[in-house]
Symmetry: C2
Amino acid sequence: MTATWDTRPWPALKERQDASLPDRFARSAAERPDGTVEEVLGWLGRRRAQVPFAVERIPFHALDGWSSEPGTGNLVHRSGRFFTVEGLHVRIGEQPGCVEWHQPVIVQPEVGILGVLAREFDGVLHFLMQAKMEPGNPGLLQLSPTVQATYSNYTKVHKGAAVRYLEYFTDPSQGRVLADTLQSEHGSWFHRKRNRNMVVEAVGPVPEHEDFRWLTLGQIHELLRHDNTVNLDARSALAGLYVPGTPGALHSDTELLSWLAAQRSVTPIRSTRVPLAGLPSWTYGDSSVDHEDGLHFRVVALSVQAGNREVGHWTQPLFEPREQGVVAFLTRTVEGVPHVLARARAEGGFLDAELGPTVQCQPGTYAHLPATDRPPFLDRVLAADPSRIRFSALLSEEGGRFLNAVSRYLIVEADESDAPFDTPPGFRWVSRDQLAVLTRYSHYVTIQARTLLLCLNSLDA
Amino acid sequence: MTATWDTRPWPALKERQDASLPDRFARSAAERPDGTVEEVLGWLGRRRAQVPFAVERIPFHALDGWSSEPGTGNLVHRSGRFFTVEGLHVRIGEQPGCVEWHQPVIVQPEVGILGVLAREFDGVLHFLMQAKMEPGNPGLLQLSPTVQATYSNYTKVHKGAAVRYLEYFTDPSQGRVLADTLQSEHGSWFHRKRNRNMVVEAVGPVPEHEDFRWLTLGQIHELLRHDNTVNLDARSALAGLYVPGTPGALHSDTELLSWLAAQRSVTPIRSTRVPLAGLPSWTYGDSSVDHEDGLHFRVVALSVQAGNREVGHWTQPLFEPREQGVVAFLTRTVEGVPHVLARARAEGGFLDAELGPTVQCQPGTYAHLPATDRPPFLDRVLAADPSRIRFSALLSEEGGRFLNAVSRYLIVEADESDAPFDTPPGFRWVSRDQLAVLTRYSHYVTIQARTLLLCLNSLDA
């Protein structure tokens, strides 16, 4: 038997955790020079004015490259790539408490990259943010990660321009990985979608481009408070950065993981993809697929003209929520350690329940119901005294798939009467640090809870 | 707005990690009194002799309560519970490197409990192990967790006797949770199966029963070296116990997680459930479903007569591998820190790739192929000098679903010519402690790698 492998001497061990990172992130979060945020907002405004964008609603039959698949009615692209819009039959829980429904769903098995490039300038970490248009965004253009690429993008299925800076994320030797996790996306709208959320620190000079700016964490935190300015993918990628250290919490890590395992066990998610045509409770029209009671969301089609995208013109289906949502964490600081009231959420597109916000809903769905039938804590969040609202901004979801999907994101300080230690079933107090550790692993923290984690981190400075 | 929730004062924070656990596990692992293992083997032998078991192969039409579903040919139970045997169409990876096949698969969405009860006697942790029969086990009876219950078991769908000691695992206030994670099962045979792997420490006296014995970790480690003695579920539940502490490794934790995220991204797993009847490459006979080349496994049916199970007589389908497998970790100790050579495994029933053994296969499948087409490291493991084999035993997989599914489990110390630092694609050196941390989270470490982690831990004392 011969040795065919490389036999160079082995390297020395390295530290499993980089002890310098918490300080470096804190320094970047504290760096927020006066007036610079206004300057960034001005730059976003200029880019919005300079690059011609036009978005128009069209009927399904006017989609180009997309068609309604014979037999199923599913919306599919002729390349077989990108994504499909199909029906989903969801059953959650075991008998007799099983809940069941049908809904349209976006199926996109390929894993995209949401990558933020970092670099140190004058001893302070900066992050390369992009002014990027997505057709579903309110205002179209938002502050986005350096790279936001589907597998189709970066293998050039649609024959567009190369994705700028992509090489830092596909070839790790070009930099140093600070965070990298496959995360779930919206489980109510996507079936089993995962994206790779990455932050990579460049080791050498990085070429400049007019669509990109280096910003500190402090600047990004401040921009987060401006409505519809920091996009979903940027929030998701940067949420994984915070490095936790507090050793105490209301529940031990094992107790928390055990509670989540129990929640997952009693709410197994059985989902079956079914044809979009004939989906019970949904009406398939010429230019939209609608819920029969006008609830939840609808499927629509857009024609898009854009100046700075890989492809200048295209059409595509999107999901459009029927109203503005509310996404909130109730928080309490116990012995100096911030905690959030997390809820285990079993969404139809997930494999298993994940930790989500205290409140996440479209309030209109419940407006006609008595208070006892409305989501727990919704009324408390909506009626919270302004002095207890630590964070409030309108933030939108992924504008490449969702049209005007805007929610008010809130962090509300609770008092004991609002939110006790003994929580209703499905809720648990989780320390900010525990939430941050779980964000390093796949399928533990929902995308809405990751946005709220970033909002919570922005309150530190 | 009125306070409807409990307003008792909040408890103090607790430590997120229990600092006393590593010592307590180490003390239990060191406790291995002479002659006691022989005594346990004697007890297992007596139980085997005392309780009448009979297992017989039957044709599919002789299954009672099970039938071949009209239209699909899927094997289903009339209650709609337990599990089904269906077809699976698997595609792994992206074009042009996409790999594709069809296979039968077991579908069982409900989450089972694999629970081991612990208790301290004279300052040493003991674990309550059960002498349990499963029809597919070689020797039928093996050492099993305290509780091994499907949701159907503990909600009594099959109207059998209550599951002994189950209350410790369904009501956490009866004890103290030491480990609790939803883990994947065999991704090549199950579609998306998860079981809840629990270890709970009892706080008060625990009633005795003749089918159960209190054993130390040291005794269990020694029994693990006896062929087909410690069952799969016991190995899986106890693998999560080791509490890691070493701060150094060949790759940092972030580098390791990033590498796994990259592996998961390039091998997306697309699986679609399809009818068992007419499954390409498989032949559906009267008493078995076979691969056309006689490879992999077959689906068979058994009639079972058992004296100490919840139900005394039943019939069921099982999967039977075509030959004995090989499951091995190559290991190297670097600066005193043990490492294993893990391979990212994308199996058809997984959501995403997980960390698996260096080698895991049925060698006969590759016997006719040239060395370059055989699985990497297989030949090195099979030809390893006996002085480098740190662990070797025949261990079987879950006897409730798999018939005579036996593999030789090996831990083989590598030298530099066997296994270099620069590994082939899909392989990575992972420290034992990193593997143990990942075992606390769902869907990171395969069930075969968890068994090997327990084997590795058994070498410490």
